[in-house]
């Protein structure tokens, strides 16, 4: 498998001189082609910031991000799904989905075809002509996913995309994401603060420690996905990660 994202000695700080403003330092991670990597950590640990650096929305102060994808003028290598769906309220659903297609080389008929296909992928085929305010929270987040898929990215960056949803909707969307992942073979870097979600979705779970953030542990989840939700191994793994997280916090508190 090829590596699609690699960060090397990444450092980001906001303002403050010296240690005060450092969000993370010496951050190294890699995502392999076609895998789901989940990134879990306490809130404020810099998970969202890391995604934004990879998406080139924030410049790193040190280090490099390498995104290895075949160039294609009709696609964007990376697309992001945000915590709040953040649809443009003045665009109809279909026009929200085409946001990322404006400015790349996609003819109108391909554009229409991608809208139809991504809407079908997220199960909202008849919704293209609606306004965002007419959708539920879960539907809006599905459109957020469709908008990202429409640029046919190799990599999906997902920033706590289901964090604001109710438990039932969240479970449904997790399974839907896995189905879409199987159908499209995307590489996914998924940030969450929900350990069960991290273990359920991930091929690997990265544990992000705090202040400054760094990857303190990595867990490979070798549990059959079909049986994952109920299996004893799953619950065991969740406990292991939970233990790792509280250890990381204890170290932080001890050190701080």
């Amino acid at each position: 498998m090829a590596t699609v994202i690699e960060t090397r000695d990444l450092a980001v700080s906001f303002g403050g001189a010296g240690e005060a403003g450092i969000v993370f330092r010496h951050l190294n991670l890699a995502v392999e082609e076609g895998e789901i990597v989940t990134l879990v950590g306490v809130s404020g640990a810099g998970k969202s910031t890391l995604l934004r650096v990879i998406a080139d929305l924030i410049p790193p102060h040190e280090g490099t991000v390498t995104v290895e994808t075949p160039p294609d003028p009709a696609r964007r290598p990376i697309a992001m799904v945000f915590q709040a769906a953040l649809l443009m309220p003045w665009r109809k659903v279909a026009d929200n989905i085409t946001l990322g297609l404006e400015g790349i080389d996609v003819p109108d008929d391909v554009r229409r075809e991608r809208v139809a296909r991504t809407l079908e992928l997220v199960g909202l085929s008849d919704y293209g002509d609606r306004w965002p305010y007419q959708l539920s929270g879960g539907q809006r987040q599905r459109i957020g996913i469709a908008r990202a898929l429409a640029v046919e990215p190799d990599i999906l960056l997902m920033d706590e995309p289901f964090g604001a949803l109710d438990a039932i909707t969240r479970t449904a969307l997790q399974d839907e994401l896995l189905r879409i992942w199987r159908e499209t073979g995307k590489s996914i870097l998924f940030v969450t603060h929900d350990i069960e979600e991290a273990v359920y979705l991930g091929d690997r779970v990265l544990l992000l420690g705090d202040k400054p953030a760094r990857i303190v542990n990595e867990y490979r989840v070798d549990i059959d996905r079909a049986a994952r939700r109920e299996s004893a191994d799953f619950l065991h793994m969740v406990e292991t990660v939970r233990g790792g997280l509280s250890d990381a916090m204890a170290i932080d508190n001890g050190a701080g």
Binding site: L57, A79, L86, M88, W90, L99, G100, W131, Y133, V151
Partner: protein
């Protein structure tokens, strides 16, 4: 409240007001030359149209108003948006705006006459001042209130240049605020039209001054209602357009 009830009450309120006014005049409680009852308006309108005044005055005022409105709105919105976007521009105008804003449009009349003479331009200039400030401040606030997260979304999907962000996020996001500023200016404009014409520029205001000099109070009232009608129609049309443009809002 049901819409039908609302309409009935609104119409009832206006009708009640007109009836009471008419009754006060008819009963002799108020002398009709001090306050002519509404029934004198249709004959006054007929005679003004027959003598060719009404259409000329309304057309002249409409012209001043339209030029002033377009000018004031365009400049107000453009500068308001610019100020909101560029912190340095914002800082450099902060005190200047505080000095100039409280000056009422009518205080500019002497300068309007000195600069432009007794002309249509002078009237349009005065009308545009009030409209300018309303749009300047509402456009500024509307742009400042645009959701920063949506700007990040647009950047994440490849729209990184300033013109692209302006077109795809900032202007549509600020549109509700900008439109409500334009609507407020629409009303403000009519309020200054009459005053701007009082010093001799042809229009409704000039005709009202003439009529009041002759104690033709029915003519004065006729033009007061003409302004109300013009405002009502322009506001109604504007609201219909606004509803169309903002169909995406709940």
């Amino acid at each position: 409240m049901k819409p039908i009830t609302r309409y009935a009450l609104s119409a009832g309120g206006l009708a009640g007001f007109l009836l009471l006014w008419e009754a006060l005049g008819q009963s002799g409680l108020i002398e009709t030359h001090l306050l002519p009852p509404p029934s004198t308006i249709p004959p006054a309108l007929m005679s003004e149209i027959r003598e060719g005044f009404w259409q000329v005055m309304v057309w002249a005022s409409l012209r001043h108003y339209t030029i002033g409105f377009v000018l004031g709105s365009l400049l107000g919105v453009t500068l308001g948006v610019a100020v909101a976007l560029f912190p340095r521009v914002e800082a450099s105008q902060a005190w200047l705006a505080r000095v100039l804003r409280p000056i009422p449009p009518l205080a500019w009349i002497p300068f309007a006459i000195i600069w432009f003479g007794i002309s249509e331009t002078a009237a349009a200039f005065i009308i545009s001042i009030g409209i300018f400030w309303i749009n300047y401040f509402t456009a500024m606030a509307a742009v400042q209130a645009v959701d920063k997260d949506l700007i990040e979304v647009a950047r994440a999907f490849g729209h990184r240049s300033f013109p692209a962000l302006l077109r795809k996020v900032i202007l549509p996001g600020a549109a509700p605020g900008i439109l409500s500023g334009l609507r407020a200016g629409l009303g403000q404009g009519w309020m200054t039209v009459v005053a701007a014409e009082l010093f001799g520029i042809q229009g409704i205001g000039q005709r009202m001054i003439e009529a009041s000099g002759l104690l033709a109070t029915d003519i004065v009232i006729l033009y007061m209602f003409s302004i109300a009608l013009l405002y009502g129609v322009s506001d109604y049309i504007f609201v219909r357009i606004q509803e169309r443009l903002l169909a995406w809002q709940r």
